[in-house]
């Protein structure tokens, strides 16, 4: 109790240090806790609402209708006591009066949904949809179609060749899958009413869903796995049905936010690290202040153990208070996440700070403060009461052991940094790359610092007194200058790195340079419609571009190993065999084109031959594969790939890997074939339309829908607007996290500069006593710290250029842009903070009377 009392009292006496320590650490912890809290709230919500999100316990999805044999097998495997529902889902155009727009048709049977329900404004019921051609939609969708008041309510909505009427408006959609990034709003209709619309044609992208709900307790994942096996046994060859249970929904939703929270998480680790540096420096200053008091305690009977406990208790107490404050700050921060992720995550998510988050925060606060301060903490070993006796020789013993101990004291911090980075990045590879880059930066900056301060020797020979003393200090106190330089430069490096990467990424997403975004994107142009469509467009005030054939097919083998099979042979590609799991893609779109679009560049390999491939040829045809697709499926140049197109097996060899800028919104494909392979295959066409005046857009859309009712017209401008809205929110959060890291970094720089300038207290005293005037002392301080700040910031910014370039290349496909304004601001701010802080700290000494400076306590 005595020691606890002493420790608390000591902190109250040094409340400036205590408050700064708590504020600083809590700033670093807050972002980290907010992200963890949000992640765990999201997982919690998904776990609780998975069935509602899926609207069933289990679902079968196929690109063509499920056959009676398949349904019978499912019925047999899934057993009795279950109900089922059907849904057919596709995109098409709807026309209401003069308005036409793309919608997503949700054709449902009378049992849909098996979990959850529609919240309808009127008295509409599902069975109404089955009996008559009615639809459910939201008021927003109706408004977009020009149905804005009661008088318009009876306006027929033409879907294909059949008119429909609004049956009711829904406010809650039972299908709670992601909505904001969807191409079009949902319109529900009865399954039986699809007949007569003429919307289901060859090549239409339609999905058939069969939902199941069990009324007894069953092992759903186990049943899903059993069903997959039975399907594989009964229908050998390539699977054509995807079987999902609630876990897959969880994974899918988790992936959407995973990348983003991963990036924000790494930024928060940077903020935490910077706060850690500042914390260690603050503690170092405090410990220096306490050194004599510890020696006094040791001289009157306290042991080193008691001193460690005394200081540890203080650190743990400060860490706990910092964690509590961080939790409070994070409670406010976390409220912003649902706004940021609106549309990307389920609505009405309940944000809870669960016990695991609280435990983590407290643990990080308590352990974090101990770990960050450990390198300083071990110095207590060196405190001896001998220092209290005047004129005593300093004993230098066990220097190697102490050095080793000092070096070892950094290990827990590095290990914690590594573990947290890996945890946040979500993979050992990414976490290791992050930490390796960090260590590399540390080594580079240390080397640079050493060279700079060695170079101060000739500068110290100047006749100018200020320059002479300042540069001599920097050169002679090389280790001290170096530690200050490295810490500040690491802080600036991290601060500068984040916005460099962020800016490139943001600019690329929002404004793809050198690309012309079309106005409309057209899907499902039938082969026989191609020429009439081209002719039709010739009479419009718009340009039809990039009309591209599309053929659907499957990949059967890669290098003669089954693409979906249990691929465990010696030549097996793990990433291909890994795709056998749930949620795999079963069909792909293939195309061919004379020349690459401007949004495409060859990344590896050579262009495809211009000469058409001959079906009689013994050689495989040439294939071009999109880079990220190749990475996802483990494909490389030279690989031999077996395809099945319209039932015909074909073999191709990968000739090149392509990079595609998908945000060009042009018709692009993962796989392009050599000319001659797909020319005679039944196909549909995609196309883009550019150069349409804003006022003519709706009219053109209406004309297309009237002339070609099955063709879907995607309004790219509108979709880009939605995406930009989401990007705005995401970039706002990225900027917010970046500024949190920057704030932590600036506190860190302030703490370091203050500590280093306090170390110069004796020199300032001496100069004052010797008669140096205020201006000279001020100039020496400014020059010394200004030089450290400027060089540290300069090299850190230069290093961050290189690193951000590498990061952009590694993680974000080479999207990088130099942010000159920000770099200059950081350079000036760092130099200014160093000079200002040093001046403030020195002023305290300079304003003290010499008598007091020379006296003893």
């Amino acid at each position: 109790m005595f020691w606890i009392r002493m420790a608390i009292r000591d902190l109250i006496t040094n409340r400036g240090f205590a408050l700064f320590f708590i504020l600083n650490l809590s700033l670093g912890l807050a972002g980290f806790i907010a992200i963890h809290s949000f992640g765990s709230s999201l997982n919690h919500h998904l776990d609780e609402n998975l069935k509602d999100i899926l609207t069933a316990d289990l679902v079968l999805i196929a690109n063509s209708p499920l056959t009676p044999a398949e349904l019978s097998l499912a019925d047999q495997v899934l057993g009795p006591d279950k109900s089922h529902a059907r849904l057919i889902n596709f995109f098409t155009m709807v026309r209401a009066g003069d308005n036409a727009r793309l919608i997503r048709v949700m054709a449902i049977d009378e049992h849909y949904p098996l979990y959850g329900a529609f919240a309808l404004e009127g008295r509409g019921e599902n069975k109404d949809l089955q009996e008559r051609p009615g639809v459910f939609m939201t008021r927003d969708t109706a408004y977009a179609l020009g149905i804005r008041n009661k008088a318009d309510i009876n306006t027929p909505l033409v879907l294909g060749n059949k008119p429909f009427f609004i049956q009711d408006f829904f406010t809650i959609d039972p299908d709670k899958s992601l909505t904001a990034v969807e191409l079009a709003p949902k319109v529900y209709m009865g399954l039986d009413q699809l007949e007569g619309t003429g919307l289901i044609q060859f090549g239409s992208r339609i999905k058939y869903y069969q939902f199941y709900r069990f009324s007894r307790d069953v092992d759903i994942p186990g049943l899903a796995e059993k069903l997959r096996q039975k399907f594989a046994e009964t229908f050998p060859g390539q699977p054509r049905i995807n079987i999902y249970d609630a876990r897959d929904v969880n994974q899918r939703l988790g992936r959407v936010t995973g990348y983003f929270t991963g990036y924000m998480g790494l930024v928060s680790v940077v903020a935490l690290f910077l706060a850690g540096i500042a914390t260690a420096y603050l503690f170092r200053g405090y410990l220096n202040l306490k050194q004599r008091e510890m020696a006094i305690l040791l001289s009157i009977g306290a042991g080193h153990r008691e001193i460690y406990l005394y200081i540890s208790f203080q650190l743990v107490l400060l860490g706990t208070l910092a964690a509590v404050l961080a939790i409070v700050i994070s409670l406010f921060l976390v409220q912003a996440f649902p706004i940021i992720f609106q549309g990307l995550i389920p609505r009405h998510i309940r944000l809870v700070t669960d016990p695991s988050t609280l435990m983590l925060s407290m643990g990080m606060g308590m352990l974090g403060s101990l770990i960050f301060c450990l390198p300083v903490f071990v110095r207590i070993f060196g405190i001896k009461p001998l220092m209290l006796l005047r004129g005593t020789q300093q004993v230098k013993r066990g220097t190697f052991t102490r050095g080793l101990g000092q070096a070892a004291s950094f290990l827990p911090g590095m290990a914690a940094f590594f573990l947290v980075s890996v945890g946040v990045a979500g993979s050992i590879r990414n976490g290791s790359v992050f930490v390796a880059g960090f260590v590399l930066a540390l080594v580079f900056l240390s080397g640079m610092g050493w060279l700079i301060f060695s170079g101060c020797r000739p500068l110290s020979t100047t006749r100018n007194l200020v320059g002479k003393i300042a540069f001599r200090n920097l050169f002679r106190n090389k280790w001290s200058s170096l530690s200050c330089f490295v810490t500040i430069s690491m802080g600036v490096f991290l601060i500068s790195l984040i916005p460099q990467v962020q800016k490139g990424l943001q600019n690329e997403i929002m404004r793809p340079e050198g690309l012309k975004i079309p106005v409309f994107f057209l899907v499902d142009i039938q082969e026989e419609q191609r020429l009439p469509f081209v002719e039709f467009m010739e009479h419009q005030a718009a340009d039809l571009v990039n009309i591209s054939p599309m053929v659907r097919g499957r990949i059967l083998t890669v290098n003669h190993q089954p693409f979906y099979g249990d691929n465990t042979g010696p030549g097996a590609r793990s990433s291909v065999s890994g795709r056998r799991g749930r949620g795999r893609r079963l069909e792909f779109n293939f195309s061919y084109r004379e020349r690459l679009d401007v949004s495409e560049t060859i990344f590896q390999g050579s262009p495809l031959s211009k000469a058409p491939w001959n079906f009689e040829s013994a050689h495989p045809f040439e294939v071009s594969v999109e880079k990220s697709f190749a990475e996802q499926y483990g494909l490389g140049v030279g690989d031999v790939v077996g395809f099945e197109i319209q039932g015909i097996p074909l073999t191709g060899r990968i000739k090149n890997l392509r990079k595609v800028r998908w945000n060009s919104f042009q018709p692009n494909f993962f796989l392009l074939f050599q000319d001659g392979v797909l020319n005679d295959a039944p196909k549909t066409f995609l196309a883009a339309i550019s150069h349409v005046a804003r006022e003519d857009r709706q009219a053109l859309k209406n004309k297309i829908v009237s002339a070609f009712p099955n063709v879907s017209v995607i309004d790219v401008t509108q979709m880009a607007g939605t995406l930009l809205g989401i990007m705005d929110k995401l970039s706002l959060s990225i900027r917010f996290m970046a500024w949190l890291a920057i704030a932590a970094g600036m506190v860190s720089i302030f703490s370091i500069a203050r500590h280093e300038s306090w170390k110069n207290e004796n020199q300032v005293n001496l100069l004052k006593v010797l008669g140096a005037d205020f201006k000279a002392i001020q100039a020496i301080t400014l020059l010394e710290f200004g030089f450290i700040g400027l060089t540290a910031a300069l090299f850190a910014i230069l290093l961050s250029f290189g690193f951000s370039r590498v990061i952009s290349w590694y993680f974000f496909d080479s999207l990088w842009q130099f942010d000159l304004k920000f770099s200059l601001a950081i350079l000036l701010l760092t130099t200014g903070i160093c000079m200002g802080t040093a001046l403030t700290a020195s002023r305290r000494v300079m304003n003290t009377k010499p008598a007091r400076l020379l006296g003893n306590t």
Binding site: T13, L297, G301, A302, L388, G391, T392, Q393
Partner: protein, 220 residues
Amino acid sequence: MILEIKAICKSFHQPRSGTLSVLKHVSFNLGAGETTAVTGQSGSGKTTLLSLIAGLDSPDDGQVILDGKDLGTMNESQLSRYRAMKIGIVFQQFHLMPHLSARENISLPLEILKQQRIREQTDAMLEKVALSDRQHHLPGQLSGGECQRVAIARALVIKPALLLADEPTGNLDMETGEKVSRLLFDLVDEEKKSLVLVTHNPVLASQCQTIKILDRGRLV
């Protein structure tokens, strides 16, 4: 015998000037209740001798036996405990805890040693050093003489067998120094304590029963 110093040697390695022998085979004894002053020129090894007696450092050779126990046989923790119970130290620069009041500074060793009747012992000691009326003042609010009286009280409150004083009046003016030294010797006499006093001041040294002069590491 309360203190036996047996042929102790101490040297320091200095990177540029080689090894510096500070103490060379120094021996002497001190009985219970005896007082001795150690004097000598600057650099003669007085403070080093004091640090070895206090167990703050260890000799290269020889023994320091305090109340029958060889300090060289103890580890750091045992030494710290033994020092706390057997030795009181008064420093030239007082070395008080700045954020503790005079009273709290005096009771600090008793708290560390987890002793009983802390309040009564502290009150008694405050009275002895005539600081009862200043007991709640922080060191920064006390004069140099008062600070040294607190330091003496703190050293004696644990009733040590041996009191070590390192230039106890070195930081005080003559008049205050005389008052503090009178108090120190009165208390040593009253409590029947042994005292080793390191000083340059011949007047102060003369108040001890014996004087030992160190010259370049040897007793003369």
